[in-house]
Structures are given as structure tokens and as C-alpha cells.
Assembly symmetry: D2
Homo-oligomer: 261 residues x 4
Amino acid sequence: MVIRAVVWNEFLHEKENEVVRSVYPDGLHAAIAEGLALDPGISVGTATLEEPEHGLPAARLAATDVLVWWGHRAHGRVSDATVAAVAQRVHEGMGLIVLHSGHFSKIFIRLMGTPCSLRWREAGERERLWAINRSHPILAGLGDRIELPQEEMYGEPFLVPEPMETVLISWFEGGEVFRSGLTWQRGAGRIFYFRPGHETYPTYFDPTVRRVLRNAVRWANNPAAAWLDVAEAPNVPVGKAPEKLEVKGAGLHRPGEAGLR
Amino acid sequence: MVIRAVVWNEFLHEKENEVVRSVYPDGLHAAIAEGLALDPGISVGTATLEEPEHGLPAARLAATDVLVWWGHRAHGRVSDATVAAVAQRVHEGMGLIVLHSGHFSKIFIRLMGTPCSLRWREAGERERLWAINRSHPILAGLGDRIELPQEEMYGEPFLVPEPMETVLISWFEGGEVFRSGLTWQRGAGRIFYFRPGHETYPTYFDPTVRRVLRNAVRWANNPAAAWLDVAEAPNVPVGKAPEKLEVKGAGLHRPGEAGLR
Amino acid sequence: MVIRAVVWNEFLHEKENEVVRSVYPDGLHAAIAEGLALDPGISVGTATLEEPEHGLPAARLAATDVLVWWGHRAHGRVSDATVAAVAQRVHEGMGLIVLHSGHFSKIFIRLMGTPCSLRWREAGERERLWAINRSHPILAGLGDRIELPQEEMYGEPFLVPEPMETVLISWFEGGEVFRSGLTWQRGAGRIFYFRPGHETYPTYFDPTVRRVLRNAVRWANNPAAAWLDVAEAPNVPVGKAPEKLEVKGAGLHRPGEAGLR
Amino acid sequence: MVIRAVVWNEFLHEKENEVVRSVYPDGLHAAIAEGLALDPGISVGTATLEEPEHGLPAARLAATDVLVWWGHRAHGRVSDATVAAVAQRVHEGMGLIVLHSGHFSKIFIRLMGTPCSLRWREAGERERLWAINRSHPILAGLGDRIELPQEEMYGEPFLVPEPMETVLISWFEGGEVFRSGLTWQRGAGRIFYFRPGHETYPTYFDPTVRRVLRNAVRWANNPAAAWLDVAEAPNVPVGKAPEKLEVKGAGLHRPGEAGLR
């Protein structure tokens, strides 16, 4: 079964900033999607902020297996409705890959429950990402490290919950470190945060970075049927308890009444 | 140093429902606070939904070390501003203990990033909570299990992130199980979810339950100074990098410019 | 690529105990292997305690993707050399599925670093395993629970490290609970502990249990090349440091000298 | 209650190597113990390899709340009996702090279940340890980083299980990173690994490092009574099951018989 990936991009910098446009003339999403499409097992579409419903109407989300997210300067313009819909889909089983400045996106903060803050510096310095588990599926085909000649620096502390797995940790020329590849499980959905990808550097054309992203899409894909009622809290009436049971004492609810929330 | 605890209660059921009022005539918060006050190292206050700012104005939150939360039927009436302020305080280091139906509170869902859904049944059945680590500080002075003769059933799956520690797991007469004592770290703050405490049973008068809550307050207290800028993302200018660094390549930001978010 | 699974069984009870022989006339390993072989993507072999090198010589281990382990009364007869070789293979990337009384096997204790102790009762009571994440690959094709009419009881506390994922929790008729499906990552290898399978009950003929085991083999398989030097601690000489470096101060080792251990 | 700490040191280098002796004339253990003793709430003793039972007879271990471990060139000379006794005490609740080259000690490997391997270089380079959670008790009174002008390099991958908390991550001048402060829970015991402390540098005289170690001893101390039977697997006979139960089907054990292991 082909994995249906959608690359979401804010797509503002590329229209307004000459440096960014010169690196990503077709938008960051085009470069990211191009890298994913090298895997014949992945079908790739794109969506951007200024499309209706940010390009992510319900029907499309329902038909998306893995969503890749890049945003930076307009996190606040993503509607709360879209954030809620994406979060629900992740809980149902959709994979989510959050890139670089997406650390401050509404959807990432919503799913982490923490500030997702960090330190940063734009100096075009060298970044070296060290593999913590080189046999992790996300690092398939890569070696023990990834070198990027120029990147923005992100420094710890990175305010996220302890991850399921620390996959990569970055060394920066200027003296900082950063957990640059982290995984979490939220409901039925898998989440991967991947640090590199500042808009002024050609990071998403790098073959190694592209390999990480293809691997991550495969890793994040959950072939199970969507867990549609993942957020429901159904009553289990006494008559349907797994074990025979008699009601004791007074209750709040009448039989058949829905729960409060 | 005395730990400053505040017990927050919705305080609606007790005014409107005769069963609940007969069990908790002064409100659930009064019974919970009474149990905490048995520890001379804890000073206890209360706050309720219908007070101005739900009883939790900024100055009071800033002076709270551990917040205990009970709500059920009016989660939606808690203002988003209060939820944001409580979340910020947890990230800064305030402890949070979420009780029973508080699993669906805005603040718990906000901090977990998951639906926090479960199954339930109101039959006054027997609950037996098994200690997974009987030497955990939250279980100090207790044995290998806690028995409650009558409680509401909560059944798995409980849609929360993998905890830092599974402290207690419940067995229910009707055939279900539930992870009834779980811990998480979020920013500098510790969170404990404790399942028992349905409003129609005298659970918060139970000496064992009260001991758990006192232990939990002590466990959740972080004596470190509040991490006030935990959500900030400061720039580290090139001149202040830990290692000597020269800027390479083009950037997006001018020197001294604030980051985007 | 077909996954190469090996089912290891102590194979003593079946020769000596009439009850066990009547349930598993060909040995527990035969029943487990039969269940795995229903998946054409899995090739299955078996190995038993009394074979030379317990049926697990180095060449066979090197050609095994996932090892399934059942033992009970003769854990101490498994040689330390075999335990060390299996542990090394797990660290290199081989998957390991430990069944039931295998909780006290040398290899499981070796990989967990904890006592792996628990409480138990042999009363043929009912066990109900609840899915914590029904969309987990190990539970593919199953519903929200598994019911076994007769099983041995295992009760918490189960002295293992916090798992990567709690997949299943059991309810027992006699009043106990148990985390009956747990995952861990150790080096490049994935480990799954699955509780059911007492030798006096036909558990390994149960289609649902067999489905869990097939799923677990697929989940535990790591297609990455074996990480053969996973236990080595190579020196990185100054001349091969990623960054240019000058030696400062006195050292313990002469250039090129091997590390101590 | 005063916390009873014991600092264990191999104490071989200091007798045989002039560089080490010049830095630690009284042994590494003396310098570490001196730092701990600055906290009046900690009573400190020492133990070394060549003492009878390595200075850790059963009675002393039973009276130790937190054990600090430094070893390097003679891990293999620590007897298996002592390793087993220390592991049992950790499971019972004793805290354990493993320092630097102790990563390859038998006791650390025993408790981790992994190879505990890493990369290394002895070049006296600069190490900068970044706080991941600056409000963690182990970092009390420290800032956002620790700088050490000269240290041995340890590089990832560090083959340990995912920790409970990543407390510190190191940046090295030569280009590597390392998770240099990690915590785990094993049974009732807490474990902290702290990377710095190569024997040719005066690291254990550094006031900041000493503060970390004092904090770590306080953090690792578990005031609960020792869980003496943590490794036992008691039978729960049918007559003592929490719920009334009737035996069904055939069993392996006769009533009252001990379990197999």
C-alpha cells in the first residue's frame, strides 16, 4: 500500500524574502515533496497556509497517512479548527513530522503540552547530527552522523516532554547542543521532530536529509484503521460489564445517560 | 519550607445534587483540603469555579507550589486564560495533581496533548489499586494495594501519553483495569493523575486516599525557583556564542531582531 | 524479505508431566511455531535446551531475526555463554519475544537489569487482557481485549524497568492485575514480553494468541544490518576528531593504545 | 535523617600512575568524599577494590543509602558476588551514582542490560554540559550549563536504555556530543550516571561538579524501608486470593509448593 503523505508549508517567506526565494524558488514544500517522491512507496501532495482551510479540509486529512509540517512566521494564522482537526487525526493514527521552526507551531505545542521553546542563532554555522541508535528505522541507510555545513543553531533546553526515543543529537560550531531527532507516540499516532531546515540554507535538497525524511514517513505511517472514536468516553452499562455485576449505592447518572464533559 | 497547596473544585454538584451534598456537605474541596492539612508541612487553601478568575488570579498562582484539581460537569466553563496561566505555572515548576473526572479538564488535556478519554460505569463496584512500585514516594506508608469498597469504574484505554512512572493500576469488580496512578514531567513541573474520587462516594474521607494525596503533594513540589522564562526563545547573538564564531552566509534576521513565532 | 524466527523451548515439562504432555504432545515450541508459520512472511525453526549449545550456536543466532523464548523450570541450566551470545545479538538488532515463565529466564533478567519477579497462582482462572493502544502493530487485527478462559495468574508488582510502551494489561478473576504486554528497546534490538502461556492450558493453540505472536515477530524484526560492534568502545584519535583539535594537558593513554575495560 | 553515602573507588591508578597521583594524591574517592561531606545532611564513607569484599560486605551495603562508583582499569576484578549484592540493594531502594569510566563497570552493565559502550578521546579538550531541565533537583543551585576546561571526550552512541530523564548533554571541542547526565529507576532504586571525572584532570575538586554530586546523592536517596523481598515471586494461594475463587482445571504445582525458577 502506498503511503499518502502531505507536505504542509506556510509558504510566505518564499514570496517575500529574496534570500529564501533564491534557495527555494518553488517553496520549501516543493523541495521537501520532491525528496519524498524519490520513494515509489510514498505518494506526495502539498498544502499551504493561504489555501482554503489551509489546504487541509476534513476529507483530505482523512485521506492522509503522514503529514509533514513546516511553518515559521505565521503560526498564529493557522486556524484553531485546523489545529484541532490535525490533532484528532494524529490521535486516530496519522503520522506527523514536524520540521525545524515548526517547533513553535500550534499543532506541535498542542500535541506536546509544553512550551516547545529553545535558544537560537542565525550564523550559518556547522551542525553535526549524531545518531544515538544507528539501527533505528528513521536512520536506515545513513551512517553514524550527518554533517550540514551551514544551519541555524537551536540550543537546549528544548522544552518538550521526554521522548519515546532520542534518535539524533546535534553539535553546533558555536558551542551548543540540541536533541534534533525525537519521537513520541500520541494516541495511535507517531510524531517525529526533525530539527534542520532553516529557510535560508538548501537543507531540503541535501540527499541525506531527504533520506531521513523518507525514512521518517515510513516510520510514522500506521497501517491500522483510523481510531475514529479515540476521543470518546463511552459508558459501559452494568448489563454489559465483562463480569456479572450488581449495582451498589447511589449514582449520579440515570441508566443510559451520557457522561459529562 | 511549608508547601503551599491549593485545592481547586468545580463545586457545582454539591449545591445541586442531593446525593453528592449528603456525602460532601462542605464541598469536595473541603474534604480534600482537610486530608492534606493533616500534614503540618503543607498549608492548604481552596479555590472554586464560580469565584472571580475561578479563584486563581495570577498572584495566587504565583504563590502556589502544588495545585490539586477536581472538576466534572463544567470543564468548558473554565476560561482559556486560566488554563493558559495554570499550564504556564506547571511549566515553571508548580506541581499539579489531577483527580478522577479531572481527566477531561481543559488543563489536563492541554498538558497531555491527547484526548484523555476512557470508559466508565457507575455501579458502586469494588476497586483495588495495586502498587507497581511500593517504594515510590507517593505510596509512602501504604502497603501493596488500596481497596475501595465502592467506586465508579474507569476502564482502559486511557488516552494519555506513556507516563514517566506507572505507580498504581486498578482492578474493577466488573472486569476492567485502569492505570490509576500515573506521573509525568512537563517543563519544570510534575504531574500526578489519581483516579479515585467519584462524587457520590466518600472516597476523599478515606485515610488511605488522603495519605496518597499528602504524599503526592510532597512529591509534586519543586523547590527550585520558578522558571519564569520557560516559554521564551531567546536569541544567542554571535558575539555571545560560547565558542568564537564567524557568521557565514545570508540570514533572515537582522542583528538584535526578535525571533518569529 | 522473509523474517527468520526461532522458537526456543525448554522442552522438559512435556516429557515428564502428563498434564503438560496431554496439552502439548509435540512440545510447546511446536505449537508456538505452528502459529507463527501461518504467516507466509515468517520462516520458523525451533531450538531446545538439551540440544548442543541449546540449539543456538553462533552461526544460527547470526541468522536469526527474531527469537521467541519459553522456559520455566530449568532457567539455570541455560549456559552463561548462550545467554551472553543472545544478549549480544539483541543489542546488534535481533528481536526477542519472552513468553510467560520466561520472565525468570537468565536472558530476560540480563536484558532488563531488574529481578523480573511477580506474584502467581495456578487456579485456572479467567484472564482478560485489555489493549492500551489498540492501533499498536502488535495488536493488529485484534479488538479491544483478549479473553482466556483459563490461565495461571501473574500479579503486580512485576519488577521490570518502565517499558517503552504498555501494550496490554490483564485483569484476573481472583482480583489481581498485570502488565501483560510490554515493549523495550535495548541497543538495536526490540523486546516484547507477553504474559500468557502456562503449560497446562492450550493457550498457544488460541487463534488470538497466535495472532499476537505473529504480529510481535513482525514488530520485533529490525531490517537494519546487524550492529556487530555495538559493544565496542573505539578510540577516536585526535587526528580523526571531527573538529581540528590540539592536545592539552597530560593523559593516561599513549597514542593508539586500546581503552581499558 | 542523615543520608549514608559510600564512595567506592578502584584506587589503582593513583598508586601506579604519576599523573593521576599528582592530581589525586589521596585517591579519587577522597576528593569525591570531600565534596559530598560539604553537605551536613550527608555522612560519607569510602570503600576500595583491594579491601576485603571490596569494602562492601553485606552489613555495610545494608547500611548504605547511596553508593557512588568510580572504576576504570579493573572492572573485571570486582567479584560477581559483590556485583550481585549491589544490584540487589539497588532493587531494594539504594541509590547508585555511576561516574565516568564506571560506564563499563560490571554493576552498571548489570543494571542497564546493555553494552554501555561509547567512543572516547584523551586530549584535554573543553567540555560544556548543557542543562536540559535546569529545575531538576540534581541541578539545584547551578545555572544553565557547566564548563570544564579539560576533560576526556566521550561520544555518542552511548549504549544505554532510554533514560527516565535526560538531565545533561555535553558538547565537546573536538566535535562530539554525549548524554552526560541520565537517570533511571530500577526496582525501588534510583540510578544517576554522570560523565565527567577523568583521572588525569582535577574534575572532582571543581565546586560545580561537587554540587552536582551532592544534589545527586540527595536525589538518589529513597527514604522508604528497604524492599527486602523485591526479587521473590511468592505464590498467592487460592484461599488468599483477593476475590473468592474456585480452582478450575489441572495444574502443575501441588498446593503450597514453591514456584520454579
